[in-house]
Symmetry: C2
Subunit: 330 residues, 2 copies
């Protein structure tokens, strides 16, 4: 469940009352505790480590502040000199807290429950690094891309190689799968996606696969109905799609070679309860329940009632149970 450790859980809010967001990320005991909160509450099939996609930007030398208005990188990078100064970082040094949290999580959970690592995809991270904050359409990032494509490619290269090592380190520390978040891929036309975002995400996945050919890579993107064919070329094993893509259409279009993840509208979890059960059932029916990781189409909303999150997961689990009962001859 996207953002499964988060503000909708009272036990998470209790931790955050005492500790800042980045403090939780950087204190393995706290990161482990909040990562496990949803698992203890709902027993979902996997635990995703608690962190933020901008942590690597900080490790590359940027000033990261996480305030109420969203993350801010106070020193946005907009020319080749600043890009050249971005550091290649050693994940076991600069982001050791994350590796420690993953080691602790995988030790705690054992082999029965997979732990997921994650990172921002290069284009999305570049959006923040150039823009400095979330901004509709990311005009500064696009301007750099249009005006100085070679400079922008250098930035994507720097991010991609750092991201590949960062994910490799997470796998070495115990992640059974990794997810890339390309939240802003959907801002791009197909031509621009293919020119900028696609080669960079391909590079990350290729490098991860060279070291760990059997570790699944999940790629999330938002608003990418127009990019489905290109997403299939990324090398990802699983495409995590937002609520606006019809999963039956995606399955027809992409075939069964690529697993799908998603894609219930997080607003559905605000209620009513009947709509939640219907949305879960509809999502599973669209893929036939094969090669499908049920999930939300975007992050769970902070005002989601806990009992609705529970219903979302329990409905999915009951569908699976009834499917396996049918699969076993009576």
């Amino acid at each position: 469940m996207m953002r499964q450790a988060g503000r909708y859980l009272p036990e998470y809010r209790a931790i955050r009352e005492k500790h800042g967001f980045l403090e939780v990320c950087k204190t393995p005991d706290l990161a482990v505790e909040v990562s496990l909160q949803p698992y203890h509450a709902f027993r979902m099939d996997a635990v995703i480590v608690f962190c933020d996609i901008l942590v690597p930007a900080q490790a590359m030398g940027m000033d990261l502040e996480l305030g109420d208005g969203g993350p801010v990188l106070a020193n946005p990078v907009r020319d080749s000199v600043s890009i050249g100064k971005l550091r290649s970082f050693d994940p076991e040094v600069e982001t050791r807290f994350l590796c420690d949290a993953l080691r602790q999580l995988s030790r705690t959970l054992g082999s029965a429950v997979p732990v997921l690592g994650f990172a921002g995809a290069p284009w999305t991270l570049a959006c923040y690094i150039v823009e400095g904050r979330s901004k509709d359409g990311f005009p500064a990032a696009k301007q750099l891309f249009y005006r100085e494509p070679a400079t922008f490619r250098m930035l994507l290269d720097t991010i991609a190689s750092n991201t590949a090592r960062y994910l490799q380190a997470q796998i070495a520390a115990g992640a059974s799968a990794v997810q890339l978040f390309d939240t802003w891929a959907g801002e791009l036309t197909q031509a621009d996606y293919r020119a900028a975002a696609l080669p960079a995400v391909q590079q990350v996945i290729r490098e991860v696969k060279v070291a760990y050919p059997n570790v699944p890579v999940i790629l999330y993107s938002k608003g990418t109905s127009h990019l489905l064919d290109s997403l299939a070329e990324t090398g990802a094993d699983v495409l995590s799609l937002d609520w606006r893509i019809d999963l039956a259409h995606a399955r027809r279009r992409l075939g069964s070679r690529i697993a799908l993840q998603g894609n219930v509208d997080p607003c559905v979890l605000l209620g009513p309860r009947q709509a939640i059960a219907e949305a879960v059932t509809a999502a599973v029916q669209k893929t036939g329940g094969q090669g499908h990781i049920l999930n939300l189409g975007h992050g769970i909303l902070p005002n989601t009632p806990v009992e609705n999150a529970r219903l979302f997961i329990e409905t999915a689990q009951s569908i699976r149970l009834s499917a396996s009962a049918k699969a076993v001859p009576q």
Copy 2:
């Protein structure tokens, strides 16, 4: 050019230094002046009257504030009692300033230059009316839609009938065409679009057409790659699409019965200049230049250089000139 009277123009900023946004909307002389600024600068093919899509929400009884953080409706409407209190307004009374501005514009421009009126589409206006402000995914609006579909439909009905009368009044006052802005249609799945947004926008267009069968209705939407077939059922004469939809795909999919408008990425206008000319040419080539109103795919950015806006328009005009030269036997 979407948001063609706006902050990218120094003469607009000069007016806005002395007058608030709503003050400009509500003072016909000022609204006419800023509406004509881009026409005087660039001589585009049409002038769109200066106003805001939330003006009708105010006329329906909501408290509208337009601050730096975007528009705010201080008294969001979230239950059937509040919805029942929304007023049906008389456009020639509550929004007479807009009708006056249109009369003045059409008198000034004569028949050679069409003047466009506009309104928000019901779903998009409902998003603001329920949420109170722009918020990622409009969760409060969707929650109301999921939890109380009959209540939400009542809200859409109220908005739709007000909007139809509002557009009729604009046409009566001199608008040669009207545009509906369904900026947030793309937040909806296809099923939800068909259940909520589509019937309401159909109602508006149907009512406008009953009174003015020959006045073209343009429908803008953003992020609606997954909704193309449904958009074709709205009754709109022209679909204005954002930059992420491939116009060639849209034309193949929708045929030539519906004209297309758009769809250059407004970020392209930040430069470089060569990319602007290329983007205009590419957009026109994708439709063959037939049944196509060249436009941006979203609002022009405030930091767009004026000379780039000029190049956008001049490139389009030169393509048209060369096309008509070819069409006339030498």
